[in-house]
């Protein structure tokens, strides 16, 4: 790994989830910046280019995460984006970003269920950052 720590942007409107994710990601050895809404996340992206971003899905609206992912990818096409949500457990709706068609409308590289184990999350982040 290079000397400079990779920077991860985490956006979630649940204060506690944000804290926990931040703690976890810092534990993996990354730097973090956080925002608690889509608009705040957008503002942060306009001045900073993180190495990776993790967005909650339901924030101001039910699809804030998708919108933010779309805007983030427009600004930085190469930045990996993870959408993390508890939507499947709650609504039974599943999202995947595996096929080309999915990737066309969900501008994210990975879709994660909240509550994923730390080591799994670490592995997924490393994979996306090609570490």
């Amino acid at each position: 790994m290079s000397d400079i720590k990779k920077l991860v942007l985490i956006v979630d409107d649940d204060h506690d989830y944000l804290e926990q994710m931040k703690l976890q990601v810092e534990h993996f050895g990354f730097e973090t910046i956080t925002a608690s809404s889509r608009s705040e996340g957008e503002k942060m992206l306009s001045t900073t280019r993180p190495d990776l971003a993790i967005f909650d899905l339901m924030m101001e609206t039910q699809d804030s995460g998708f919108v933010l992912a779309y805007k983030a990818k427009k600004m930085y096409p190469d930045m990996p984006v993870i959408i993390a949500t508890a939507a499947t457990a709650e609504t039974g709706i599943t999202f995947k970003v595996e096929t080309e068609e999915d990737k066309n409308w969900i501008k994210a590289d990975l879709y994660l269920e909240k509550g994923i184990r730390g080591d799994q999350l670490h592995r997924e982040i490393n994979k996306l950052l090609k570490i």
């Binding site: 703690l23 709650e90 509550g115």
Partner: protein, 372 residues
């Protein structure tokens, strides 16, 4: 103009063409309907032919003769009933016996027209059957929409109930793995946050119970003459610990003789909601002006705060269930998102209104008017 399809099932061609002539240019309007109904006729000479037409396409009204050459009208009715058609059936028969009437009613016929009938009789029967059909469809649609709204409510509710559980579970896992240190003191902030989330969840459940009682109409209401000023003082007393914590000062002013016929608990919920919002969304060292005035036709309750205010954009969503205005200023304020929705429902029970005036960063004023 909505066209209803009428299937005429009769073996006598004269009856079929007679009905066709009567209904061809007939239209009906109802005061509760924007559109008039008109009719388009399809003819069938036998029960078999009728079933064939029904299977192939949609019909709204079936005029059914009982005495047919092949299968009888009653049997057609039985089939129609089995198919659970979205149609209304009217029997036309010259052999109107009690036996057939009972049988047909059991199989879901809407009514009877005895043969021979005058054009006026037929039109009257068609009018009532159209109204019946319309109301039946309307009810069905409203039930369906009601279910839809219920489903949305439940999915948002489950989200609101699960988020605190997820948060607490997350903290417990961190503690289990001793991720930030070996001493319990290293985890105090997490324990505090967990307790806050549990408190929020309990509040949500209490609010939810209030809302359910209100909506089911099963809440036991005990209407009696009560002194609003007394309940107001009680509400101020209840909110005091929170107000002291945030150093918010509550000024109270009430007119004389504020006797009002109401349910004590409901008025308490209204006052508690108004005050707790005024404290929660206030600034540190802020103020609240709570006053109750007696006008000639109404009691006017005003709660004015010096808080963060509500933007115009968020104002329209204010009374919706589970709406919590999410900005960085409201992030650490706990709430179920049901309080204002409950309060408004209660005020409406008294024929009252709720008015909101707000300027971001200056403050918000809620005005509740309860007619005397």
């Amino acid at each position: 103009m909505e066209k209803l399809k009428v299937l005429i099932v009769d073996d006598e061609p004269g009856i079929r063409s007679g009905i066709e002539r009567i209904l061809r240019n007939y239209t009906i309007g109802f005061p509760f309907l924007d559109e008039d109904f008109s009719y388009e006729m399809i003819e069938a000479a036998t029960g078999e032919e009728a079933l064939d037409i029904i299977n192939k396409g949609h019909v709204d009204i079936i005029l059914l003769d009982n005495k047919l050459p092949g299968i009888q009208g009653i049997e057609v009715l039985e089939e129609v009933n089995k198919m659970k058609l979205d149609a209304a059936v009217m029997m036309i028969t010259s052999y109107a016996s009690l036996d057939i009437a009972v049988k047909a009613t059991n199989f879901g016929a809407f009514n009877f027209v005895p043969k021979p009938f005058t054009p006026q009789e037929l039109k009257a029967a068609i009018e009532s059957i159209s109204k019946h059909l319309f109301l039946k469809r309307m009810t069905k649609r409203m039930n369906k929409e009601g279910k839809q709204i219920r489903f949305q409510f439940l999915s948002v509710l489950s989200h609101e109930l699960k988020s605190p559980l997820n948060a607490i579970e997350g903290y417990l896992k961190i503690m289990q793995d001793k991720q930030v240190g070996d001493s319990i003191d290293d985890y105090m902030a997490m324990i505090d946050r967990s307790l806050i989330r549990i408190k929020g969840m309990r509040g949500l459940i209490m609010d939810l119970l209030d809302l359910t009682k209100l909506e089911s109409g099963k809440k036991n209401r005990e209407l009696k003459k009560i002194d609003l000023a007394e309940i107001a003082r009680l509400a101020i007393h209840t909110i005091e610990p929170l107000a002291i914590q945030r150093n918010v000062k509550v000024h109270f002013d009430a007119d004389e003789d504020l006797v009002f016929t109401a349910d004590t608990e409901e008025i308490e919920i209204i006052f508690n909601n108004l005050l707790s919002n005024a404290v929660k969304y206030n600034k540190e060292n802020g103020e609240i002006h709570f006053n109750i005035k007696k006008k000639s036709t109404a009691i006017v309750i005003k709660v004015e705060d010096t808080g963060i205010g509500i933007s115009e954009e968020n104002m329209s969503r204010l009374f919706q269930e589970f709406t919590r205005i999410k900005t960085d200023k409201t992030r650490d304020i706990s709430g179920s998102g049901l309080g204002l929705s409950i309060m408004k429902k209660l005020v409406v029970l008294y024929g009252g209104t709720v008015d909101v005036q707000s300027t971001p960063d200056i403050g918000t004023t809620f005005t509740v008017t309860l007619p005397l």
